[in-house]
């Protein structure tokens, strides 16, 4: 059209550019009423994975201890620092150790990146195990969360594998011999053990092939798998009705408002009737009318808690990274094993057990333990004791679990501190 109409609008457009860009990015202003609070959660990609409203029980710090979130944030820190480290790392036996020296000595922020990555990795193993303990001890694996529990166990195994494959990459004595011991433990499995060991190492000893395999597993295969599994894990939390909580956490709604009763079998949708999306969602969050509940808006309650957990996680990792340097021992010397050669600490319980019996310690007992963990929700079908720490109804299950756990922790402690040359018993003082 004419210039007169175009030029002022261009000027205004330039004037309003920052505001418009901001508004297009964040569609809502800081919310002031419930509608806007809902809308904020709903329209933001990173927030929309959360429910608009969240149960008060979910926000109790002493119930969850934030462990799941901590593991996730550690994973995020690991991905970010890991990608930065990838710019400097070469998975070659000739160069890997030199690259470590460069990272420690010359690369800008190299030391802090490596330290953060190292301590987050150790931390993630520990926190994921603690998360598993929390879920077990509160009985949260029970129906309908059985499969999410299974996924969680798989995530733990993936985390261990991540940490284990990363352990080799510095290519120093610590890495080389820990992986030699670790893969040897895999070799004790019946029938397929030797094949698995060969597949992992790409040969009969840890060498260039093993380094390349571990690298690819560590930076591509496992992170991708882990990301996918985490996504499903999160998605299922919502589809399973949020975090677990005790049966009496929700006020009983009037029967006529809930449609199908808790006791009767949920009927499948029939052809005659049409259902909205809400009708398909399981659990008491399906809120039809203004029934009383114990939920609060995610904004700001949930998001503030998550931010808090993130800030604390990052702060702890940064402090650790500043205070303690990641170890870097001698360059690999295939002819000169340290005595004792120890696996990474989280496998030292296995190594300790292997020192009594190769098969039972390395494969049998851990296999049974993992098997029991995977099957736990299908063996323990009692609906009681969900959502409470150390419920009396779960005395047997919790006792069995804690016994296994304590045994493993004791073995890890013995293996870490009480084993000297030739795996003889020594006192650490």
């Amino acid at each position: 059209m004419s210039k007169e109409t175009a030029s002022p609008s261009l000027l205004t457009a330039v004037k309003e550019l920052p505001g418009n860009v901001w508004k297009s990015l964040f569609r809502n202003p800081l919310p002031t009423n419930d509608l806007e609070r809902s809308s904020t959660s709903f329209t933001n990609f990173f927030l929309h994975i959360h429910p608009v409203k969240v149960h008060k029980n979910t926000l109790r710090p002493l119930y969850t201890l934030g462990l799941g979130l901590v593991s996730f944030f550690l994973f995020v820190i690991l991905v970010v620092t890991g990608i930065l480290l990838m710019f400097y790392y070469v998975p070659s036996t000739a160069q890997a150790y030199d690259r470590m020296l460069d990272l420690r000595g010359s690369v800008a922020f190299g030391t802090i990146l490596r330290n953060m990555h190292r301590w987050s990795a150790h931390g993630m193993v520990a926190v994921v195990v603690m998360h598993l303990c929390r879920v077990f001890l509160t009985g949260s694996y029970k129906k309908p969360r059985e499969f999410n529990w299974v996924l969680g166990v798989v995530l733990l195994l993936l985390t261990l594998l991540m940490s284990f494959t990363g352990y080799l990459l510095p290519w120093d004595q610590l890495a080389f011999w820990a992986i030699t011991v670790g893969t040897a433990i895999a070799g004790y499995a019946p029938v397929v053990g030797k094949d698995i060991q060969f597949l992992l190492m790409g040969g009969s000893t840890v060498g260039q092939e093993a380094l390349l395999r571990f690298y690819v597993l560590h930076v591509a295969v496992l992170p991708a798998t882990l990301t996918l599994a985490i996504a499903i894990h999160f998605w299922r939390i919502r589809k399973d009705g949020g975090l677990s909580r005790p049966a009496d956490a929700d006020p009983t709604p009037p029967m006529e408002m809930m449609g199908a009763q808790a006791g009767s079998k949920p009927s499948l949708p029939e052809g005659k009737k049409t259902y909205g999306l809400q009708g398909l969602v399981r659990g008491p969050l399906t809120k039809v009318n203004n029934i009383p509940d114990n939920t609060v808006f995610s904004w700001p309650n949930l998001f503030m808690s998550e931010l808090f957990v993130f800030v604390m996680t990052l702060a702890v990792i940064l402090v650790l990274a500043l205070l303690f340097n990641a170890p870097l021992e001698e360059p690999v010397n295939v002819m000169h094993p340290p005595n004792p050669a120890k696996a990474p600490w989280y496998f030292l319980g296995l190594q300790e057990m292997v020192s009594y019996s190769a098969f039972w310690g390395g494969i049998g007992v851990p296999g049974i333990f993992v098997g029991l963990l995977l099957l736990a929700p299908y063996l323990d079908r009692s609906p009681k004791g969900v959502g409470v720490w150390f419920s009396r109804d779960r005395l047997l299950a919790n006792t069995i679990f804690l016994t296994f756990l304590a045994a493993n922790i004791i073995f890890v402690i013995i293996g870490t501190f009480f084993r000297g040359p030739n795996w003889a018993f020594v006192t650490p003082w």
Binding site: S106, I112, F308, M312, L318, V319, L322, E329
Partner: protein
């Protein structure tokens, strides 16, 4: 929670500040700025000053691909004045690297010119250390894990304090000079040369192999010792071998002074396998020769005067470090038997053969074959066979202490000070079952005639029949601690009932593989799979000296009725007949051709 959140966020901010501060305030930048400022003050013209003005701190590095793996040396980042002659009086790190004629530097028109240019050689090729590091701790290799700390300068935290003074000094750099200047006569490496001479003079070569220099097989191969180990470790291994490895059988060489050990360490540090001046062809030749000639060349043979054989022999025994293992008078290496009255125990022929090849007379001896000359062996034999002073033995107890204790131990349990070095191990007298299962004649014969093929010598020229019996009585009361019982005669064939034939030997072998190989090994060498758990170790049945010294009747006795106090069972209980044992004996006899020589073959 908001307050905690604020604190946490603030903490993260602070840590980022600290990290940034660390990142942008390197010590090396300060060194470089100091250098620029000093150099500007010394600058002669405006152009030079402007050039310095234009420089800003940066990481300096030399990449050297010519010596071994590619080296990245960033040393000059701090030692930025190392090639600037004006800084010779400054403190490190801003000190000029010294110039010296010995290193081939030359003065032209009053200016020094380096023979080893830093741009071509870098730094770590001579000095070691970690070229990539930028902090002194990293770069100098003071971190206990770095394999090549700055030679003769850096000290790692875990090094033994008392050794540290001996591990410092410029002489250590000679070990790296010798990577290119390999000739032992090279003027720049006198300490390496001295260490090499000591390597031969102290008989190190007898046990250790260094490709091209020596071919010992008893101790570890030292061809790459300088690449594998740090100086403190090598020093400690020589100074006090057992302090590093409790199971080490290396003797403590007391005649070496600390300075000697230091020279040896510097020599050993120079042994890094393939060095820079070697071609593949040199390497091949070295492997082919083994080094015997070099040994001869190094140990400087002594001209033997036939008139003074014994005296020269004595000198040789002392000079050539025999007492590092053996006992001779007051000197005692605590590894090998006592030579004080050797002339009474062995004849010259045995000594001569034993010198040339110890295993020719003692199949499981750990004594190395030293590469002395023929006349030298003769002189040493002459000296040793002249040691015929009968020791004063007032009582059987004194006799035990003087003659037996070294091997059989003060508790009589066969674990004397040198027992671990002997194979077969000395008899354990506390096993009453064994002692009382052998007739007195047999025990007296073992004492007076010795046991062939073992370290038990014949004492007959020191102990007469009466003394031997008194000694055995003493052993009986002091160690066996059970009344002596003469064993009942056993039912044994007088001679082997089965004539030796290929069929008999084949049957014997089949029985052996079935019944005996578990302990005695498939080869009969006493190293079967069960042997590890058995003490005393199963007899080495390939020891021809021993085998040919025992009669068929004795073999029948041991096999049919077992050896009490050992793991050898009584095979008559497991159904072996006289004929089966006869086949076994034929098989064993066939395994061991009758040896020539030996001091008292066929006497038992």
């Amino acid at each position: 929670m908001r307050f905690a959140l604020a604190v946490g966020t603030f903490l993260i901010l602070v840590i980022h500040g600290v990290i940034l501060y660390h990142q942008f305030s390197h010590k090396w930048e300060a060194h470089q700025i100091a250098y620029f400022n000093q150099a500007k003050a010394m600058a002669k013209g405006d152009a030079e000053r402007a050039a310095l003005e234009a420089r800003s701190p940066r990481i300096e590095q030399t990449v050297v691909a010519d010596f071994g793996e590619t080296r990245v040396d960033r040393c000059t980042t701090c030692h930025i004045a190392s090639d600037d002659p004006r800084f010779s009086t400054y403190q490190q790190p801003l000190k000029t690297h010294p110039y010296s004629l010995a290193m081939g530097d030359v003065q032209k028109n009053g200016r020094w010119e380096r023979r080893h240019k830093f741009s071509e050689f870098g730094c770590t090729v001579c000095h070691d250390g970690q070229g990539r590091g930028l902090s002194p701790k990293d770069a100098h290799g003071e971190d206990e894990y770095w394999p090549d700390p700055l030679l003769g300068a850096a000290v790692q935290e875990n090094w033994r304090k008392e050794f540290v003074p001996m591990l410092k000094g410029k002489e250590f750099l000679e070990a790296n000079c010798a990577q290119c200047h390999t000739s032992p006569g090279f003027a720049g490496t006198p300490t390496v040369r001295r260490g090499m001479d000591l390597y031969y003079a102290s008989n190190c070569y007898g046990c250790h192999r260094i490709e091209g220099l020596s071919d010992g097989t008893i101790g570890p191969d030292l061809t790459e010792v300088g690449r594998k180990f740090k100086v403190d470790y090598i020093y400690a291994r020589i100074k006090d071998p057992k302090s590093v490895l409790a199971t080490s059988i290396m003797p403590k060489f007391n005649m070496l002074t600390d300075q000697d050990i230091r020279a040896l360490v510097i020599f050993l540090k120079s042994r890094k396998g393939k060095n820079f001046s070697e071609t593949e062809m040199d390497r091949y030749r070295l492997r082919a020769t083994g080094g015997a000639e070099l040994v001869q060349a190094h140990i400087k043979p002594v001209q033997i005067n036939p008139a003074q054989m014994a005296r020269q022999g004595e000198q040789l025994v002392l000079d050539r470090a025999c007492t590092a293992c053996h006992k001779l008078g007051a000197k005692d290496g605590a590894v090998a038997p006592d030579l004080t009255f050797e002339g009474l125990l062995k004849d010259p022929a045995w000594l001569d053969a034993h010198f040339r090849n110890p295993r020719s007379t003692m199949p499981d001896s750990i004594m190395p074959a030293f590469r002395f000359t023929e006349p030298e062996f003769k002189a040493m034999t002459a000296y040793l066979s002249g040691l015929k002073t009968v020791p004063a033995l007032p009582s059987p107890e004194a006799a035990y202490k003087a003659l037996c204790l070294r091997c059989h131990g003060d508790k009589g349990n066969g674990q004397g000070p040198i027992a671990e070095h002997l194979d077969p191990s000395p008899r354990d007298f506390t096993k009453a079952a064994f002692m009382n299962s052998k007739p007195m004649d047999r025990l007296v014969a073992s004492v007076r005639k010795g046991v062939e093929g073992t370290s038990m010598p014949a004492w007959e020229r020191i102990l007469d029949d009466r003394q031997a019996k008194a000694l055995l009585d003493y052993i009986q009361t002091a160690f066996v601690k059970e009344p002596r019982q003469e064993p009942k005669p056993r039912n044994l064939p007088a001679a082997n009932p089965v004539a030796s034939s290929p069929e008999s030997i084949a049957r014997g072998e089949a029985t052996f593989v079935n019944r005996c190989a578990g302990c005695h090994g498939r080869k009969g060498d006493g190293k079967g799979p069960n042997s590890l758990d058995i003490l005393p170790k199963p007899r080495n049945l390939r020891n021809a000296f021993f085998l040919s010294s025992v009669s068929d009747a004795r073999l029948f006795d041991s096999i049919l009725y077992g050896v009490q106090g050992t793991a050898m069972p009584s095979w008559i209980d497991y159904g072996l007949s006289n004929n089966d044992v006869g086949d076994l004996v034929n098989f064993l006899r066939n395994l061991n051709p009758k040896p020539k020589g030996g001091q008292n073959a066929g006497t038992i």
